[in-house]
Amino acid sequence: MIEAHQLTKRYGEKTAVDQLDFVVKPGTVTGFLGPNGAGKSTTMRMIVGLDAPSSGSVSVNGRRYAQHSAPLQEVGALLEAKSIHPGRSAFDHLMAQAHTHGIPRRRVDEVIELTGLRSVAKKRAGAFSLGMGQRLGIAAALLGDPATIMLDEPVNGLDPEGVLWIRNLLTGLAADGRTVFVSSHLMSEMALVADHLIIVGRGRLLADTTVQDLVRKAGGDTVTVASDQSARLREVLAGPGVEITGEIGSEELHVTGLSARAIGLKAAEHGIPLFELSSRTVSLEQAFMDLTRDAVEYHATTTVEAPGRAA
């Protein structure tokens, strides 16, 4: 359980994280989404106490991270930047981390095995590929067998095999009943693994929602149906979980919660003629971009200024 209250981080003039309130609930995969520069990494650094909040607070399982007697047992974190000494072997790195908590060597061997690092465990970590480095970071995060795992952009720069590995890892961790908090700027990646989404832009909370809700709010999975008996059709289709909108007197209705197939069958059952029946799905990517459009730090401007403005 991670709880942020009015969490704020300012660097001089710039506010990187702006009064964030959120809760990462236990036993879920929570995606932390936002464009680059939205404050995701800074938030994660504040969770594990690497950065101190300018104001507000964030707690892990009820306490500040630093107040736990065995922090690695509370949260295992993979931060975006490399957090190893390149001259040290993977095994020595993990062992040094383990020593601080009295974690036995057996557990170090376990996480090496689990992350598939056995063959390179005695090699200098500086010579690791990006994917191997990521595995080492995950091995370190799992070392304390924590109930909460936090990963900052874990798939960034990985090849497809690495991406798949991370994806399986996340679902495996969640199936184990662990809380997983994972950041990304890729909605499509999140949609595959996350139950819950916390979306930020320019340090502010834009949405705290589920994948389904996000799609629904963005007008996704809507079926447009047209009939001259729209009032009757409305009655026929009404039911729990079904939402019908449409202007009074208009022939067109927008239905969410029912598939086009189900609508067609019901209409036929009641002898209602349909003039149009089409479903429209808004991609998650589109929903995300609509939400963060105003919060993207650097826009690529493709529009040309309207002519006629005298210089």
């Binding site: 236990p26 036993g27 650094r45 594990v48 106490g49 690497l50 950065d51 101190a52 991270y65 630093a66 736990h68 007697s69 065995a70 922090p71 690695l72 047992q73 974190a77 931060l79 930047a81 490399k82 957090s83 190893i84 000494h85 390149p86 001259g87 040290r88 072997s89 020595d92 790195h93 062992m95 040094a96 981390q97 020593h99 601080t100 908590h101 009295g102 974690i103 376990e110 689990l114 370190a140 799992l142 304390g144 067998d145 109930a147 590995w165 399986n168 890892l169 679902t171 495996g172 961790l173 199936a175 184990d176 009943g177 662990r178």
Partner: protein
């Protein structure tokens, strides 16, 4: 203790009820820093260099002195009062660089590589990390330096036997001087770790270390003489030298006073490092 398996996602298991009781303790942080120190090749190389400097330069200085004596030419003024002790400790000037630089690397190296994020994630209270690094490296530097001077001294003594500079371990002040040199170099190591943690930059830490130990004494000589006499004995390098010098002129501090002053400088550097470590983001 059950463990997770990444590929097997069947049968979601509840989070373990019986979990091992891990806990961060000061002793364990020490153990971790000890393991970190010895798991880097640079440690072995630099400590080896420090040891080599201490022994080789001490022996070379003794041999040089003896050949000067035998040549019949008048001795240089700084060689007139030379003893086996002062000649065998000639290498401390060089060894202090090796040990001080390694001290800087122990802390600043973690910032330049990003290792500090792992370190502070494991020990988020932070200060135990600084104390452990300083203690582990200080003791290692002390051990290496003491070993070095106790090897260099008898070899130099053998070379110088029969000359007027000859001293043995049983002569008054010799053992104190050798132990003082070991202690001085151990504390230089601690100052290195403190400067590294304070400046968070390998280059910056080394620059300040070299400036403090080697350049500042030279700059002080530009001051008026009356000021020099008041300031000079308290400089880290001169206070440290008082710890292992056999004879002390009127302006120099006594060995005990030198030790106290040098400890003061060490404490100051550590206090600065502790302040920065606790107050600023990693």
């Amino acid at each position: 203790m059950s463990t997770i398996t990444v590929t097997d996602s069947s049968a979601p298991a509840p989070v373990r009820t019986e979990r091992p009781q891990y806990k961060v303790t000061g002793r364990r942080v020490l153990r971790s820093e000890w393991a970190k120190l010895w798991s880097l090749r640079s440690t072995w190389i630099t400590l080896g260099l420090g040891l080599l400097f201490l022994i080789a330069f001490g022996v070379i200085a003794a041999a040089h002195y003896k050949s000067e004596l035998n040549s019949g030419r008048p001795l240089r003024p700084d060689e007139v009062g030379a003893t086996t002790l002062s000649l065998s400790l000639f290498g401390t000037n060089f060894a202090q660089l090796a040990l001080g630089v390694l001290g800087v690397l122990v802390t600043a190296g973690e910032y330049s590589t990003g290792m500090i994020r792992s370190t502070l994630a494991a020990v988020p209270r932070r200060l135990p990390v600084l104390w452990s690094k300083a203690a582990v490296f200080g003791l290692v530097a002390l051990a290496v330096a003491t070993l070095g001077v106790f090897i260099a001294f008898p070899i130099a003594g053998g070379i110088l036997s029969g000359t007027r500079a000859h001293l043995t371990l049983s002569d008054s002040g010799v053992v104190r001087g050798l132990l003082g040199a070991g202690l001085y170099l151990g504390l230089v190591g601690v100052i290195g770790t403190a400067l590294g943690a304070l400046l968070r930059s390998v280059a910056g830490g080394i620059a300040v270390l070299v400036a403090t130990l080697m350049l500042v004494p030279g700059l002080i000589s530009l001051l008026p003489t009356s000021w020099q006499d008041n300031i000079s004995p308290y400089l880290p390098s001169n206070a440290g030298e008082s710890m292992f010098a056999l004879t002390h002129d009127s302006t120099a501090l006594s060995p005990a006073a030198g030790l106290l002053v040098f400890l003061g400088w060490t404490a100051l550097a550590l206090a600065g490092a502790a302040y920065r470590l606790v107050r600023t983001d990693a």
